[in-house]
Symmetry: C2
Subunit: 234 residues, 2 copies
DNA sequence: ATGACCAAGTGATCTGATCATTTTCATTTC
DNA sequence: GAAATGAAAATGATCAGATCACTTGGTCAT
């Protein structure tokens, strides 16, 4: 028995993890801010260093904090998120890649429609920036950077929907295996087409044409899917 | 410098985590199987116990392994997944709850349509089981259990789509805050209606009527969403 | 058989030290 | 005065060995 009513099944590590999250929340810290040293945290919670480190590793695994050798403990990029891409996920097989694209082709079009209904100015500018960056990267031949920026475009589109949960879902299915998608897209090679399709989607969103944005996004992803399916099942 | 060519930026902990995952894969272990003791792992990888434990905590945070006090290290439920619900996520606010339901209302209907096109016998039986269980739980007044089974129905529906990634996405948006959804649904209270709607969805899937399954799922979730929105913005 | 009990295996935590990296800042050098 | 240098402090990473706590399986008495 421990406290009053309620679940008592929590371990010391659970308590430490949630207490540290509460500490971060109390101090109004956000991504990138420095948190507190390992030793100081150990003192504060009256536990040994290895114990606090285990709790920190747990937080680190979900992107809630980040440990930088010689520097300190910082608040991570994914603090407060509900949906995450598994940071330890294995490289997806060909079939899994196809599934992933099918999932995106199902989810992202209606998300684009939402974005078109909102027409957030910030998001539109961000997407403009991505397209400009993509253009430069195509010219300079930086294919890795291009794949990254293209994914960023899709993420910004999802953020433009105004629904953080949907944005997290799209971010998650998008972040997996940029490298693999990159290689397959190299087979495809039609980088100009991608850029033009992205441009068209953005214009539809800017015009507030939800149905068009949805259709263009669907066609775009179906096109990518077709390429990947051809590569996966030769 | 370390080995031959390739990325060298990996930390000791990264190596340990991926090595252990590789070990699990090599041995063809799956969820629930016992893995190997902490001390044995420390010996195997020539590191101290606290170090191997940090790596294990990282794996544990993503559900790849599970540490059971006094018993051993086991392979976790979520090993190999790409998309996860953040296990450390804070209790969602009312707005976040609404967003979550909106996301579900957007994603799940087309997933139900996929399920109707597949008509997997296994999945149909599983859903039958959930509905039977729900009926009993309504009779016995076990509301917590009922909420759980209702969520399980939605997850099985997603699994019936045949797309593991979509199933993981639905599982993730579904697993968050069963408790919160439960309480709000208590306000709603119309448990019989939920059951009937679930039944109708299952029948549409069984009949292979994709459009009907999609529409019924959308109406069902929109109904739940309306209840939650009323509760969140009184 | 059944239940109480005990012992081995195993995870949890502690203590305290040493090594490695980053950051800061005073010193040197041009 | 500005830039390069280098020592010192702060901080994370890892180690070693010990002790506590929980689970499990077998033993033994009933």
């Amino acid at each position: 028995m421990s406290t009053s009513g309620g679940v008592v099944r929590r371990s010391l590590l659970d308590d430490l993890a949630t207490s540290m999250l509460a500490l971060i929340a109390d101090r109004r810290l956000s991504s990138g801010d420095q948190f507190e040293s390992v030793r100081s945290l150990a003192d504060r919670f009256k536990v040994a260093v290895p114990t606090i480190r285990e709790a920190l590793r747990r937080l680190e695994a979900t992107g809630a904090v980040e440990l930088r050798h010689g520097s300190g403990v910082y608040v991570g990029q994914h603090i407060g998120r509900l949906i995450l891409a598994n940071p330890l996920a294995p490289t997806p097989s060909g079939d899994r890649l196809v599934e992933l694209l099918q999932a995106r082709a199902l989810i992202e079009p209606p998300v684009a429609a939402l974005a078109a209904r909102l027409r957030s100015e910030d998001a539109l500018e961000r997407m403009d920036g991505h397209l400009a960056a993509a253009e430069e990267l195509i010219a300079s031949g930086d294919h890795a950077g291009l794949a990254e920026v293209n994914m960023a475009f899709h993420r910004s589109l999802a953020q433009a929907s105004g629904n953080a949960t949907l944005a997290e879902v799209v971010e998650s299915v998008t972040v997996v295996n940029v490298r693999e998608q990159l290689e397959i897209l190299h087979i495809h090679g039609d980088r100009q087409t991608d850029l033009q399709e992205h441009r068209a989607i953005l214009e539809a969103v800017r015009a507030g044409d939800a149905e068009l944005a949805e259709r263009l996004t669907r066609e775009h992803l179906d096109g990518v899917l077709a390429v990947i399916e051809r590569a996966a099942h030769p």
